[in-house]
Symmetry: C2
Subunit: 140 residues, 2 copies
C-alpha cells in the first residue's frame, strides 16, 4: 500500500492534483484507503458510504472515482463488461477474478513474466500490462 494514511496527507495529495479536499472526497478516501487495499465498484462504495453515515450522492461517487483515478490514487480494472472496478492498490500487480462472486484478489507482479512482445503496433508505446486470471469454483 503506497497511499496516504491520514486526512492531512490525503488532503495534500488532493490539492496537488488540483482537487479540493471536500467532505465527500475525504469521506470516500477514508473508505478507500483507511483499511488496506480494496477493489470496489461505484455502487458498492456508494452503499458503504451511505451505511457509514457519510453524506454522498451516487453521482459524486462516480465523479470522485474518476478524479482519483486521474490523480493516480486509484486504478481501474477491466474484468466485467457490466461493472467498473476500482483498485486502491496502484502499484504494479495483477488479479484473480472469481467468476461466480465477482471478487478480485491481487497477484504480485513478479509471478508473471512478459517476454519480448512481438508485432507491437507501429508508433505505439506500452502503457500497462494487465493480467487477469479468471477462476471458478472447483466442481465438488
Amino acid at each position: 500500500m503506497n497511499t496516504p494514511r491520514n486526512q492531512e496527507t490525503l488532503a495534500r495529495a488532493l490539492r496537488k492534483a488540483g482537487l479540493r479536499p471536500t467532505r465527500q472526497r475525504l469521506s470516500l478516501a477514508q473508505c478507500l484507503f483507511a483499511n488496506g487495499d480494496r477493489h470496489v465498484t461505484a455502487e458498492a462504495l456508494y452503499a458503504e458510504a451511505v451505511a457509514a453515515g457519510y453524506p454522498v450522492s451516487l453521482a459524486t461517487v462516480y465523479n470522485t472515482l474518476h478524479q482519483f483515478t486521474g490523480a493516480g490514487l486509484l486504478r481501474q480494472v477491466m474484468v466485467d463488461t457490466n461493472r467498473s472496478y476500482f483498485d486502491s492498490n496502484t502499484s504494479d500487480h495483477h488479479h484473480y477474478f472469481h467468476e461466480e462472486t465477482g471478487e478480485l484478489v491481487d497477484i504480485p507482479s513478479h509471478a508473471v513474466t512478459v517476454g519480448d512482445l512481438p508485432n507491437m503496433p507501429e508508433g505505439a508505446e506500452v502503457s500497462r500490462v494487465e493480467v487477469v486470471v479468471r477462476v471458478h469454483q472447483r466442481a465438488s
Copy 2:
C-alpha cells in the same frame, strides 16, 4: 485460425452445437470467419452485415455472438467497460489494446509466461489467463 472455412463445414459445426444453420447465422459466420481472425463488437458486426446487404437485426447479432461463444466458435475479450469484444481466434493467445482506436491485436501465448500463482483462492480452479497489453500513441 482453427475455424471452419466454408458454409458446409460451418453448418456442420453449428448443427453439432445444436444450432440450426439459418441464413442469419451463416451470414454472420461469413463475416466472422471468412477472412482470417477478427475482433469485433456487436455494433460493428451489425453495421458490417447491413452494409454487405445481409438481412439481420441487432438482436440477432447479439444472440448469435453469444451462441457462437457458447459453442466455442468465438471468445469474448474484456478490455473496455463500455463494449464487448468478440474474437474469432479461439486459440490460446493474448492481446494488445490500442487505447485511442479501440483496436485489438493478437499476441502469441508463448510471449507471456505465468509462473507459480501465489495465493490462489481456496477451492478455485483457473479457467483462463488473459493478458492485455494496453498501448497508446507515442508522443511525437
